[in-house]
Symmetry: C2
Subunit: 349 residues, 2 copies
Amino acid sequence: MPMMEEISENQIIGQIAKNFPVSPFKINKIHEADAELINLGGGFEKYLALTTDALVEEVSSGLYEDPYFIGWMLATVNFSDLAAVGSEPLGILPAITYPPDRDESFLTQLARGISDACRELGTFVLGGDTNQGNQLFLSACAVGLVPKESTISRIGAKPGDKLYLTGPAGLGNIFAFLHFSKPESNLPKSFYQPLARIKEGKSIRRFGSCCMDSSDGVIHTVDTLMRLNHCQFVLNDDWDNILHPAALEVCRAFHLPAWLALAAVHGEFELCFTVSPRKEKNLQDEAAAAGWTPVLIGEVREGAGVAIQTSERLIAIDTTLIRNLSSTAGSDQQRYIGQLLEISRKAGI
Amino acid sequence: MPMMEEISENQIIGQIAKNFPVSPFKINKIHEADAELINLGGGFEKYLALTTDALVEEVSSGLYEDPYFIGWMLATVNFSDLAAVGSEPLGILPAITYPPDRDESFLTQLARGISDACRELGTFVLGGDTNQGNQLFLSACAVGLVPKESTISRIGAKPGDKLYLTGPAGLGNIFAFLHFSKPESNLPKSFYQPLARIKEGKSIRRFGSCCMDSSDGVIHTVDTLMRLNHCQFVLNDDWDNILHPAALEVCRAFHLPAWLALAAVHGEFELCFTVSPRKEKNLQDEAAAAGWTPVLIGEVREGAGVAIQTSERLIAIDTTLIRNLSSTAGSDQQRYIGQLLEISRKAGI
């Protein structure tokens, strides 16, 4: 059975977390949800949802450079984890460390990015911490509430469930590909500026069976859901519908296999979720009423592993290899892309 | 009137925060409390208390080197902010970025330090984030609850109030002084390992008028309380009682003016609080019942500024100058200590 511990990132988390005292008020176990759910007691009808995320490699590699965009993404990565448990956000607390050579306008733009991402979601900056340091470093904590009678986590998928995204995928990977491999592309700022799927998460918590955000790309997400739910996760090869048109266009222009726009580690912050066939119509109606359109990307089957179903055959994808690449290739982007292309060639897709 | 904006750190915070959307559910305004208090609605009888703090200069300067101690302090700085609003902690979420050259035992020791600080306070690690990066970087978010009918903030001191600490002071400053100026000292690990004053904060919220932790040292803390409460804060010169015996001993050995053990920016994480004379007896009884002893350090008077009362005269302390030193002297510790000694010489104390 594919284990969470086959993924090197999870080994490190396990190593760090094994001595931590675990709260009796925490609902989910480690890895089981994008955000932690805490029972506050006192008859309160909601769980507290908590998450913390730092922007590390995205900033140190130069992928995120514009201060407004950095601020926007700091908020998005944290609120996206709340979205994946169906939580309404209460707000965010950013911790901002900046080197003395960053001018006032850098900090102002950074703050505007955080503020605008909050305003777009109708939420707030609750507090924070600022420090001067020898390099830019950003983390944050997001906090929200979710009704006790309507929660969702990464656990709950069953064979027969349909696999969905909250929107077309691939822009996260393609944005990183163009940034590192085609720096002359000069992308418009609107190309990639994801918004956490809070509204969508509230629909999914009612009818979905499991949910996780695609912050690390769709393949990484599906791999985690596969390991946690002990089922096989099968993607369709309907790339025209699964991929964002702009991602598909770049794949075609540079002769990249379409599925690789799901395979690298920089995601699009859609929610990836499963739904039982008997609740599929409810989910679709609820989504339509809330103003969004679920994108069918595959299904859950008995078995294990991640595969892609074409009209001719079922192609197994070695997602352990793919996931550990992003740990071992380090910051060498060309090598990383080369290794993904080699995996694609060998799989014949 | 001394303004918060005279302090360069506060100018930067104001610059960053001015565009942030402010939550209607947040009880305190900016600067008014060590942790943010949030009304969760739904008839819940408690406020949520939230704080985030990163360990930046303490780590980059080498003041915190041992991984167990770093982990302990990461928890302490965050829980101490909860203590200062009288909150019972629910737990902490650390965000740990570590360079690939740190071995497994470093991370294990770091995690043990966090765990032990939690266990000592009867609280938990609720979640977290780990990343590899080019240098060690640590932040965390701590979360707690405080009864709505019994909260405390930095606001509420009145002329006539007595000024207290939860324990003798000075070890934080002296620890930093010995580390940077007398590296041959070879301090035992027990010399400085502060524990957040959660128990004490619960006594203080019932009878105190304002409260703030001394994470930046007593003088910095008293200066902030002075600015926020528009009163004069006067310290006694009863150093034998105010200073920790080990801090006093170091001051004597190196001919340092005793009050300077309160003046530098690395604190001892005691709570600094005021109490009205008519509630002083209640506070003392409550503290005795809870097993701690308040240390009287001064009083609040009509007026403005921070001063030290000796048997002969009232010596005004230029706390604006002292506080901005820690921003302008940067990481040059010898220059910083030299400037503090010069301020002491000029004040004649």
